[in-house]
Symmetry: C2
Subunit: 357 residues, 2 copies
DNA sequence: GTGAAAGCGCTAACAT
DNA sequence: ATGTTAGCGCTTTCAC
């Protein structure tokens, strides 16, 4: 029971304009079959009344909400804001609004949100799932027939649309680069096991090692979680271990930064003693003070494309055509900065900018 | 005309359960006046049918959408992700979902979104407005009687609820700190003029200068926009000007980081030659490589409190009680790090961590 | 304890 | 060109 001025409806307009409210609806929606005069009058009155069409009612009738859900682990993780921005942009271009769903890296919250989105009858869902778990979630039980697009992280072998980069290739690029620079004992620092992206990046790492004739060493692989602290700890262990690596590939930038801190704290130099390559190219990585070599994902573009893909999927479903699923795999890009080049002017130069004196 | 399995409704359940659909509604909503037996049966069937209540229909009936709009300039600006996270958390605790509205620092998009949110009949709006402009927007024409809570940035003298920090005091703290460290010519670098927060931070700056008996110098004030680049340019100009400052208060951290880069590029040392203090305490500021002294805002908490405030406001409106407006002004906190301490062990120590050797 | 029916605001047949 | 009416899925009187 809202007090204040209750919102005006088409009936209010109809009454004043002396027409049926069907006519008002037609006029407002620019349907044909309305005399110019009445149309103008209706529009005029609507304006005066500050009429605001009720999207809820419209949605009930049309079965379309023009809303999509964006399900991500954590908006405050530096990887996601740009992605989210891309999604928002793409979505709003297509006339959709975005419900922000932060799962907090929590599988049950992910499922909760999926149910919520179903109840809200969103037109579609863009999700960056916590992969391992998601395998089961995506057995269609939860999402039903709502179009879904995976973003940045997709279950292996899914038939649904997605926008990702080639993570395996990314891992390969990173590791090859290190090997080509002459580093020989390249370690792998990763977040939780069982994550599809982590696994694939590791796969690329392995492939590069094998291809370049380096020796794979189990003790050079270190898993933890996705936070800086985890990278810090991993690197600390690696360095103080019996066979200290001379390069570390961290499968995300936050980890990589933690790695750098641990290395420096140990009194070692980056990249002279230990080189570091990250993954994602978060904004932090580009800062002169960090200047991290990394594998870039076009985050904003990925978001935008996911939104467009979803919009297409919705249209297709609406039109009765089946959910043909575009699966977009973008090329990762190696961005060479200062943490991976040994004995070059570049590395000295860059390291130099960090110095206060 | 959705194909596939059309969603089940209470009628479907009613049919199978051999009761009227009113009864189903009651059972589902746990209303009293339903025999235990039927209730269980209904629930059972609902479950089997994978029934998912239609929030749209419910919303139409109840005039409540359990959705709020979060209107911010740009989620990819490092200040906002944490704020958004807080909002999302607070909102979902209270049973609300969050529509993410990125205005892209664009006044007309801000207004567009406000209209959109009105059409969607959100239960309330949390907004971090682009203040100067917003003065007009908030003449209630656009938002009507939808509860609004301002976040981080509120129009001067508004009677609506808000959650902000004391920006004037923040500016004062930052500047005093610099003055107390013995710096004498403290410059002010700010984003666009006419922003309430910028103005207030400047006011604090002025107050501190006057109070500490320093001389205010017009040529030490430099306005631009909110990006790092702008801080960089401002500092470059200040430094090469006739009276180079020995300290710079930048009213946000991104600006401050730009300032630092300009100073270093000029061959000057931070903080020995030029001290820098920022504002906001974005995650970047805490990194050892930057280690920026700054004024902290409890971003996540602010978001959470805004969500709670809004929830309260909605409840109040719903209950017919007027929109009593809690206005929360939090204390800013000076976080002293390495960019503002001259000639102390602390500063040398901190600067030292930056060195690769 | 349960059913019948009205109605939330809108759109879309189907009349006229 | 416009009016009448049904109905989207649900909640909620009001009867029985």
């Amino acid at each position: 029971m809202r007090p204040a001025v209750d919102k005006k409806t088409i009936k209010d307009i109809a009454e004043i304009a002396n027409v049926s409210y069907a006519t008002v609806s037609r006029a407002l929606n620019d349907k044909y079959g309305v005399k110019e005069g009445t149309k103008r009058r209706v529009l005029e009155i609507a304006n005066q009344l500050q009429y605001s069409p009720n999207a809820i009612a419209r949605g009930l009738k049309s079965n379309r909400t023009y809303t999509i859900g964006l399900v991500i682990p954590d908006i405050s993780n530096p990887f996601f804001p740009e992605v989210a921005r891309g999604v928002e942009e793409g979505a709003s271009e297509q006339g959709y609004s975005v419900l922000l769903c932060n799962t907090n890296w929590n599988v049950s919250r992910e499922e909760q949100y999926l149910n919520l989105l179903a109840e809200r009858r969103v037109d579609g869902i863009i999700i960056s799932p916590m992969s391992a778990s998601s395998q089961s979630l995506w057995q269609d039980e939860v999402v039903g027939d709502v179009p879904v697009v995976f973003l940045a992280n997709a279950p292996m072998g899914t038939s649904r649309p997605y926008v990702i980069i080639d993570n395996t290739r990314g891992g390969y690029l990173a590791t090859s680069h290190l090997l080509l620079q002459g580093y020989e004992r390249v370690a792998f620092v990763g977040a939780q096991e069982g994550s599809v992206t982590v696994d694939q990046r590791f796969e690329g790492y392995r492939a590069a090692i094998d291809e370049r004739g380096a020796r794979f060493d189990d003790s050079l692989v270190c898993l933890g979680d996705f936070r800086e602290q985890s990278g810090y700890e991993a690197a600390r262990d690696l360095i103080s271990g019996r066979n200290c690596p001379d390069a570390i590939f961290a499968e995300n930038d936050l980890l990589a930064i933690g790695v750098i801190h641990a290395v420096r704290e140990r009194g070692l130099r980056v990249p002279e003693d230990v080189a570091v390559v990250g993954f994602d190219d978060i904004p932090l990585a580009a800062f002169p003070e960090i200047h991290l070599t990394t594998i870039a994902q076009p985050k904003e573009e990925m978001g935008r494309r996911a939104a467009r893909l979803l919009s297409d999927a919705v249209d297709r479903v609406e039109a009765g055509r089946g959910p043909a699923s575009a699966q977009v795999m973008l090329e990762p890009e190696l961005v060479v900065r200062g943490t991976s080049m040994r004995n070059t002017d570049e590395s000295r130069l860059r390291a130099g900018t960090t110095l206060p004196d």
